[in-house]
Symmetry: C2
Subunit: 359 residues, 2 copies
């Protein structure tokens, strides 16, 4: 439809009695073009509302100024904040961002990868689905020498640049904190262990237990996608048994909230009967009663870091010869009502400082 005739560089050239090359160069402020010509060109651009055609330009240069972003979903605090950071930062470099959601479906993800390649994005930033185990769709980016950066949910056994939160430190800090409050039966509500971030948090959990010489109890570990529904089901299982845990460490805040809700239904008081900690420091963790202890991931910083890495790769500051960068962003435990036991330890009021960079 439409096929509106466009006002192009050629039209300007014709009107001015110069060639298209001259106009093109005038617009890009080429030094070989006289000031007078530049001014005349700019005037006409103004007058006729000439618009640059990025398609033509990208085609000719085989290079666009759009970066692709694929993530599972952005309707939550962490992912949407990362996306915002990336877009804002990229904008400063003159790049546009094309945000696409995979809805946690590997098929959708694959389609998006192909679609973004088809529009020849200059680079691609990805947080994979929970279930992506075939990363071959991304091969084309390496093959075409187009920068590819993963963050948060990064591939395993697939060579790539990655930006990660310090999930091990986060899992360790949260568990340690619960142990310090006197808990010894700490249930773990983990995401799928096929995913590296959950593995790391799990390992942090194990390490903290070991440090306190608390024997590991497999029956306290639940692992599945941390949706509200799943988490409610597991919480029910955890809290309706006979041998109740004295704390639950949930690997995201949606799950932690589910635990709190379930605990209320079971007449369990938090933190008197049960301590709870979550992950991501979702704004919801703060407003709920009781407020929930959580691990801050600094998503904005994470997005900025991923963007910086992307820019470095685009500007070839980093050799791409088989060397893959792995960046870490710190985490910080924010202790709140859900884990504060009166008289136990000294927990800062506004959040206990457990910056993982100190590790």
């Amino acid at each position: 439809m439409s096929r509106q005739p466009q006002y192009t560089i050629k039209d300007i050239a014709q009107a001015l009695g110069v060639s298209a090359s001259t106009v093109s160069r005038a617009l890009s402020d080429h030094p070989h073009i006289s000031d007078e010509t530049k001014i005349r060109v700019r005037e006409l651009v103004q007058k006729h509302d000439y618009r640059h055609n990025a398609l033509a330009s990208s085609l000719r240069n085989s290079k666009s100024n759009t970066i692709g972003l694929i993530l599972p979903r952005l309707s939550q605090y962490f992912p949407s904040t990362v996306a915002t950071a990336i877009q804002n930062k990229l904008h400063g470099y003159g790049y546009n961002l094309m945000i696409c959601q995979s809805n946690d479906s590997p098929e959708m993800e694959r389609e998006l990868v192909n679609a973004l390649y088809a529009s020849r994005v200059a680079g691609l930033i990805v947080s994979t689905t929970l279930y992506t185990n075939d990363f071959s769709a991304f091969d084309i980016f390496a093959k075409s020498n187009i920068p590819l950066v993963f963050y948060d949910r990064v591939p395993q056994n697939y060579p790539a640049h990655v930006v990660l939160g310090d999930d091990y430190a986060g899992g360790y800090a949260a568990t340690l904190h619960l142990l310090q409050q006197g808990c010894r039966r700490i249930a773990l509500l983990s995401g799928p262990l096929t995913c590296r971030i959950y593995q790391d948090r799990y390992n942090g959990y194990l390490a903290a237990l070991k440090e306190y010489a608390v024997p590991f109890d497999q029956s306290l570990v639940y692992s599945h996608e941390l949706t509200k529904e799943n988490a409610l089901k597991s919480s029910e299982a955890i809290l309706s048994g006979t041998a109740l845990p004295d704390a639950v460490f949930a690997c995201n805040d949606t799950a932690a909230i589910a635990v709190v809700k379930t605990a209320k239904q079971h007449q369990l008081r938090i933190p008197e009967d049960l301590l709870v900690a979550g992950y991501s420091n979702d704004p919801r963790a703060e407003i709920i009663t009781p407020s929930i202890t959580s691990v801050e991931q600094f998503p904005y910083e994470m997005g900025e870091k991923a963007t910086m890495l992307m820019m470095d790769l685009l500007q070839n500051k980093i050799t791409q010869q088989g060397r893959y960068i792995s960046l870490n962003t710190p985490v910080k435990l924010i202790a709140r009502e859900s884990s504060r036991r009166a008289g136990v330890g000294a927990v800062a009021e506004s959040g206990e400082d457990m910056d993982s960079s100190a590790q």
Copy 2:
């Protein structure tokens, strides 16, 4: 950088001893191409991992298959849900979505409009910033005959297709509900009245008051951007005076949460001393204690509706000759603890049905 030589249609043509036209037509399953040729082409496409170049294609057809979306920010329930709906729906039609955040800055918004035009999106969907009053940046879309759809925050005095929630009905329903609970001094925490959605909610509020013959009291109305900080300040002002209101209707849930928080600090019990209602039915409204009554806007449906309108425009099903479409999506009041007064009226447990379509 890179300038990797690409594997193109010409390469396939050469390898097969046919012309590029034939390959192009084979790939688009043109009826004039023999099955044998099509098969041979597809085999080679597979073998060499040929990738369609959407840039070249779009340039040639002066038409891309990307739709632009500009919104103030997506780090909240309502906007991110709308965006998700739009992307999912568009995907079904073979279109990609380019999501861009204006951060509520008119300058940024303008830049994004231009950038999206530069990449010749096939259509543009917009929820404007709170402060956009100059819509001339959008002129180019009308002039180029590129479909433009606004939703939620739509322009005033600018001819365009719009998709709106029934904000009048929402404001009316929430206020009426508070009145039915016996409240007579209902404070209003409104967004800027330069924005149509807030005007409409305000008018709904006024209409309900009038119906109950409650005199309008200007001193109960606060109007400003509904950020957490602003809302806390206004809540403080509202609740620290001597003539307290008996209810607050906040025009988003962030503000409603601020009211609840401030009320707690003032030792006011909700709903015994103060009733509270919000807007948007953010998930936070449900998990907070007390849970907050709110107006559900059905953002997913709204996104789908905006997408359908866009598709109709793209397919020219709708004449664009100066006739502008305006679609409404219904709203529904969800009554919760924050507004349930024991023994007053009959309020459904899981949400009072006040579907605005019944209006």
